[in-house]
């Protein structure tokens, strides 16, 4: 927790170098699967979040979830529950925890951990099938997580 407070303070102070100030994946503090503190200190942008949800190369959340509010996206999956009403079911902190690392909320879930950069078995270099060279970036950046959380919060029944 201490680390994330320091990180947040830093990001408020130095808004020009946002990346350096993001809470690092290994420093995120989960309480019952939820993450209270913003990962960046910058409010999420719901429109950008919607793009991340639908894009194959970004979150590709629709591979597993249906979202009625995004009817233009063909072929929505049904591995996970529909995200309709997610903003009613979950608080912002809970949504942040689920998107950052769903395994903290749902033990053993199939849902990938989007804000994590270590602890993988045979990590690859994206979708090449080759070994990853060097350190991995998390699947989504801290700001993309915030954007997705901001979008999910708009999904009310």
């Amino acid at each position: 927790m201490k680390i994330s407070i320091i990180a947040l303070a830093a990001s408020v102070g130095l808004s020009t170098s946002a990346y350096a100030a993001d809470v690092a994946p290994t420093a995120v503090s989960y309480t019952d699967g939820a993450v209270e503190m913003s990962l960046t200190g910058t409010a999420g942008d719901p429109a950008a979040g919607a793009k991340v949800l639908g894009s194959r190369s970004l979150g590709n959340c629709v591979a597993c979830h249906e979202v009625s509010a995004l009817p233009d996206i063909a072929f929505q999956g049904m591995i996970g529950p529909s995200l309709d009403g997610a903003g009613d079911r979950w608080s912002e902190a809970e949504l942040r925890g689920i998107v950052a690392n769903a395994k903290m909320m749902f033990e053993g879930t199939i849902m990938p951990s989007f804000y994590k950069d270590t602890g993988y078995i045979r990590p690859g270099n994206a979708y090449t099938g080759k070994a990853a060279d060097g350190a991995l970036d998390p699947l989504l950046s801290a700001q993309q997580i915030e954007d997705v959380v901001a979008y999910l919060a708009t999904l009310k029944d």
Binding site: G77, I98, F106, A132
Partner: protein, 284 residues
């Protein structure tokens, strides 16, 4: 309130709501050339009884037109490659000047080989795939060059050897000297690889019948291999398919022909014990 329980509650509700829209496998039967009856659905083998009741061919998860292509050899593009392999079967090659037929007779004499592979080969002291057995003949009995493990010559020949066993039940042995390799394959099947941390079981055991984006998830059975895929309009080797599925988890894959994939093929093959050999099948 415990968040885990709350999460489960929320998703239970969603599952109940979603189940109305489940894309179930079709209720259909496969008879090839109005002659060869294919078992596409049967009781799960004993070693799977605690995870599923029934095993199902990938054929049941494909669309109507794709399914129809497999019902008649004239409509199955995979059979063109079977014919090509039949020519190779009868053609001498290598320093010994022998063809496969010189030793094995008609290709139909090989009926019954496909259903039991991969298997432990006593003389080799290891579990071998059919590809390994074929290359053993080429290298050591014909004095010919090995074929590339998933190259065209090899895939075509495996299609021929599958086609002559169509309708016979897959019967891969999992005990005795094969057991340790089988266990290794099982471990791989349940390992969550790559940056997406997904195991074969996450998709093909826990979610078959569900849509993942545009794909209707099957049980990932291999009784239909090699498969002619409409997507790339060629025959696809089983271990090439494994490679593709692991790559899609953002993982470093194993190489076709590697000990890991041989073990995985043995294990996945045994999950289909009781289904009919169906290759070359048609998939999308």
């Amino acid at each position: 309130m415990n968040k885990f329980t709350k999460g489960l509650g929320a998703c239970m509700t969603a599952i109940i709501v979603a189940s109305g829209a489940m894309a179930e496998p079709v209720d259909d039967t496969l008879v090839i050339n109005e002659e060869i009856e294919i078992v596409t659905r049967t009781a799960a083998p004993a070693h799977l009884s605690d995870v599923m009741d029934e095993v199902m061919s990938g054929w049941l998860f494909r669309g109507e037109e794709t399914r129809a292509m497999e019902m008649d050899d004239f409509d199955n593009p995979g059979m063109i490659f079977v014919e090509q392999a039949e020519d190779v079967w009868n053609t001498a090659d290598g320093t010994e000047g022998k063809s496969c037929a010189d030793c094995h007779g008609e290709s139909t004499e090989m009926a019954g080989v496909r259903p039991v592979y991969p298997k432990y080969v006593e003389a080799a002291g290891e579990v071998r795939t059919m590809e390994m057995a074929i290359n053993d003949c080429r290298e050591n009995r014909m004095g010919a060059e090995e074929w590339k493990y998933v190259g065209n010559d090899m895939v075509n020949m495996t299609a021929l050897l599958a086609s002559v066993s169509r309708g016979m039940p897959v019967n891969v042995a999992i005990d005795g000297p094969a057991q340790s390799t089988w266990e290794q394959g099982k471990d791989i099947y349940y390992t969550r690889f790559g940056q997406l941390e997904l195991s074969c079981s996450n998709c093909h055991e826990d979610n078959y019948g569900n849509m993942i984006r545009a794909d209707h998830l099957s049980q990932g059975q291999i009784n239909g291999f090699p498969t002619y895929r409409l997507k790339n309009t060629k025959l696809n080797a089983v271990q090439d398919r494994f490679k593709g599925c692991i790559r899609d988890t953002r993982a470093e894959t194993f190489a076709p022909g590697s000990p890991e994939f041989v073990a995985l093929e043995l294990y996945v093959g045994s999950r289909g014990n009781g289904l009919s050999v169906e290759g070359p099948s048609v998939r999308n």
